[in-house]
Symmetry: C2
């Protein structure tokens, strides 16, 4: 049976796992101990160590393409090998490619091939601005997760996302569209930043049990407990808390992977206390 | 002096060049005659032949990243080498990386490094949904072109872009924001599809001489004459007409590059007749 993102996620939630680690390596922040002969090998060595130490305490991994593209072909190869390594070592853990892609329909077919064929990701983040007709090549992927930006975690996200459309902010319209009409294949999810707990609560109120990917705790400052309260569905699940820098750089020393594990476990215990 | 996208573009307009060729190769459509030992070499051979034959009749080239990402590391390498080839063979012709990227600010730094450092593009297309604060790493690049999606050419672009905000469609708000506040470094432009000439006219009416990149003629069906009339500024310039499939696949035979040149010249003559 083909891997199904939503099923993988539900199985993780069954085990009370809600934490996603953002595998977003920057060469200059990678500890000396893991530096290798070339960029590709360094990125992979760093990610492998993190995966080895956290694979049993996370619900998903989320590499962001920008961190790999910055290193050109070598980064691109490291990204593919990182995802492959997750599949090999932790086949029950889905991989979300945080690519924030979207183009017109025929062009999106290239991104579908890239992300699901070549990269073998289980899910991808996409931009809503071109509409669902353009996103059809993504939305048709029944076994993949299509995670639509709704209210992003950045300080200036309101510039467009808070514009009022028929008495409601644009991000609420996006939430309703995705939950109401884009999710025909039960493969959609939303991105709502932890930096906006009130908005997160409002989105949850209208999207039922649609999964919400929540970045912005940790380095970006979102409060973890409040985020869980605001983001969980009526069954106390349905959310993915994503942190990157606060976990992968928990230590800058040779113990970085153990420190990442300790930070992941610390966050899990806070989440568990609320759930 | 560093290359400056807007200056390169103005110099092309001085020569009455307004046509941009989308270098969007699909392996299965590339003529037999140019098929090489591997994907990377085939993509490059196809693009080089097209560049050789069209470099004196275009104002810009626009490779779309989706077509290269679909081929993984090999595609990524082919994209970089294609841009390098344009710089070598036609240094006065700017290269627009049609990547439609956007993430939170710190992450966009990775895309800036990828597109302008590694890929050496002169301009990039970006999504507006995260707002200008997130796009700052792009907008700060004074010598690069930051081309913001406004009204895209796809059939369903109105789903979000036509939502009414304060009595005006969202795409008009985006046009006004970009022209009014995002363009502090005179490095912004907009994407408005040729498939919506009325919307193109409305956008032009409020953005002064802001450059507009106009895809959607050719294979997507936009009318070229009407597009030029609707998209030009008061000086009869300020627009970039982009076509891909109708030019690069003008012939499926060994004469594909000559056929591409002939089609580009045909389009130029229609544009010239209006301008």
């Amino acid at each position: 049976m083909e891997r199904n993102f939503r099923a993988l996620l539900e199985a993780q939630w069954d085990q009370q796992k809600f934490l996603c680690v953002g595998l977003d390596p920057s060469l200059e922040k990678i500890p000396e101990a893991v530096q290798r002969a070339n960029t590709r090998e360094t990125l992979i060595a760093f990610n492998r160590a993190l995966i080895d130490e956290t694979k049993d305490v996370v619900c998903a991994y989320k590499p962001n393409t920008a961190f790999y593209e910055a290193y050109g072909d070598e980064g691109w190869a490291a990204l593919r090998e990182t995802i492959e390594y997750v599949h090999e070592q932790a086949s029950s853990v889905p991989v979300i490619l945080d690519a924030k892609r979207a183009d017109i329909g025929s062009t999106n077919e290239g991104y579908v091939t890239a992300s699901f064929g070549h990269m073998r990701a289980d899910a991808i983040t996409v931009q809503p601005y071109l509409g669902s007709e353009a996103l059809a090549p993504f939305l048709e992927q029944k076994n993949k997760g299509i995670i639509v930006l709704c209210r992003t975690s950045n300080a200036g996200s309101g510039e467009l996302q808070d514009m009022i459309v028929d008495g409601e902010p644009l991000f609420m319209r996006v939430a309703q569209l995705v939950a109401g009409t884009w999710n025909q294949n039960n493969n959609c999810a939303l991105v709502v930043g932890a930096t906006y707990p009130d908005e997160l609560r409002k989105v949850r109120a209208v999207v039922g049990d649609l999964p919400i990917l929540i970045p912005g705790v940790g380095a970006q400052g979102g409060d973890l407990e409040e985020t869980v309260r605001a983001g969980r569905d009526k069954n106390g699940r349905g959310f993915i808390i994503s942190a990157s820098r606060s976990i992968i750089y928990a230590s800058g020393g040779p113990d970085f992977a153990n420190a990442a594990r300790a930070e992941a476990i610390r966050m899990n215990s806070i989440i568990a206390a609320v759930v």
